[in-house]
């Protein structure tokens, strides 16, 4: 069976005044299978939010998709007319954005905001729309769904707002949900609740998801496979377990090492944590070398000669690094 979504060689640039165009994504290829959660792990500047926006063609005005094939259920999203795309966004591919307070309209009751999504794509009587909305709200809120539906966003907690956004995204029963940092603004306890919610929704709705985050723990809990982005390049991809417990790319390895390892015995408190030297890369016009080379502890001569190609360590675990051939 064909994958639900196939992305081939996606390349996105941004116009910058007085400079050459910045490359935000370059040569990004991956697939999302039906019922699968693909985790995208990346830090700021990695291009992870650009990826979410490019797939739905909602880039900022200065952004441009230079090339790339994006096939979703047999249709090329990059070639579709705006009107056809409008039928897909929100209905077949839904998105959840990072900041619930900005994503929600401050002066419309949240129940109405969920209804609006449904009414836009599946016109029905007001009553039917309202009933279906409440049904979805009841699946994301264990109690109090009716009261919350009648509330304005500012009356809700961060966790409740995140749940409203999730309800909005699943109300049309989409086949793919793109979630960009859905828990980044939440405290750790609320994050756990949202993780549990995503898990139960995954079973209930058979969701396919692209989960974009900087948080490896979130991916460990929810993703089937992980794709690691660095400076707009896919540097490593493979099953979550393999990538997180035996990372092969020097960047993935060093990133996971930076997390406070407090639960290990023998690490002393208040001691220096391992770091990746240098700063996150700023996207440059073009790279004739490995993008991680400047910060890499395993740097070799070949790393500045050209960009490494993806090497398949197993048929599902791939790494773009000269250590493995490149």
């Amino acid at each position: 069976m064909k994958p639900l979504l196939e992305v081939v060689d996606l390349c996105v640039t941004y116009a910058v005044p007085l400079h050459e165009r910045e490359v935000a994504l370059s040569g990004v290829s991956f697939v999302v299978e039906r019922g699968e959660t693909l985790g995208v792990l990346g830090e700021s500047g990695s291009g992870k939010s650009t990826l979410a926006a490019a797939l739905l063609r909602i880039l900022h005005a200065n952004g441009k998709i230079e090339r790339g094939l994006v096939t979703f259920e047999g249709e090329d999203l990059m070639q579709l007319k705006a009107s056809a795309l409008q039928r897909i966004r929100g209905r077949l591919i839904a998105s959840i954005f990072q900041e619930p307070l900005i994503a929600l309209h401050p002066a419309i009751r949240v129940g109405q905001q969920v209804e609006n999504v449904l009414a836009a794509h599946q016109p029905a009587s007001r009553r039917a729309v309202r009933e279906k909305t409440l049904e979805v709200l009841r699946t994301v809120f264990a109690t109090d769904a009716e009261r919350i539906a009648d509330s304005y966003p500012h009356r809700l907690s961060g966790g409740q707002r995140a749940r409203v956004l999730i309800a909005q995204s699943i109300v049309c029963r989409p086949s793919l949900v793109i979630a960009d940092e859905p828990t980044a603004s939440l405290d750790s306890l609320t994050q756990l609740e949202i993780v549990a919610l995503f898990r139960s929704l995954g079973d209930q709705y058979k969701l396919s998801m692209i989960l974009i985050t900087h948080n490896p723990f979130l991916l460990a809990a929810l993703a089937d496979r992980v794709l690691v982005l660095y400076a707009g390049r896919v540097v490593e991809t493979g099953p979550t377990q393999d990538v997180l417990s035996s990372p092969r790319h020097p960047y993935t390895r060093d990133l996971l090492r930076c997390l406070p390892p407090i639960w290990h015995d023998g690490t002393s408190r208040k001691s220096a944590l391992p770091v990746i030297p240098g700063d996150s890369p700023s996207p440059a016009a073009s790279h004739q070398k490995c993008v991680f080379e400047g910060r890499c502890a395993d740097r070799m001569e070949v790393c500045t000669a050209r960009e490494p190609a993806a090497v398949a360590l197993t048929n599902i675990h791939k790494v773009s690094c000269f250590k493995y051939g490149g």
Partner: protein, 266 residues
Amino acid sequence: MEPLLHVENLEKRYETGGLFGVTKKVTAFADVSFALRPQTTLALVGASGAGKSTLASCIACLETPTSGRILFEHREITGLNEKQLRAVRPRIQLVFQDPVSSLNPRLNILDIVTEPLNIHRRLSEHEKREHARELLDRVEISWEKVLRNPEELSGGQKQRVAIARALALKPKLLILDEALSALDASVQAQIANLLLDLQCSLGLTYLFITHDLKMAAHLADEIAVMQNGRIVELGAAERVFRNPAHEMTRQLVKAHSGKDLTPGLV
């Protein structure tokens, strides 16, 4: 050792509403007491809405507590007038969560780090510049960047600038209000290491506010866990993290031990 900061039975209540004469009292926190020894770190940990940031604002003299006392360097700082506060404020400085909104986008780095000096000290341009050079050196920002605006810096560099500004008046106490939370993991580790270095070299005392219990356990000597405006557990960092007594702490440890989340990662 004598505590640098002593908080006794502190309470902050707000009155909200007021429309049609109906007021509602909201208690941000109550019955908060702790002591912070010099050159140590106390982490205030808790979920959002627990009252951590309001408590920090009261200690920084940005808000007035409803009752209770705050002693800083043996001196009561609650109920001081504006003029008396001017002597205290340089000693207690803040670093906020989001360097994008806490740094003025229209000022360059030099102006940002010397702004506190303009307000509190009278220095010549040359002295100010020398001071800025030393500050930026401490936070490892190269001097060539001094004329840039914040937007030209990365997230980690911006937070370094925010720390440099907080250090400009040679404070004793730094309140770090979620100062690491908005940063990427690899940058978080860099800034955590910088904070540890600065604590050693400058003899700083930190009040570290966070919901990240792991980072708290790494950086702090003591941890206070807050829930619904009360401190529900207070103790040595190691003990609180490894052997939590209160249910709230146990939940936080669970959220952070990663055991639930990460079958393979640990």
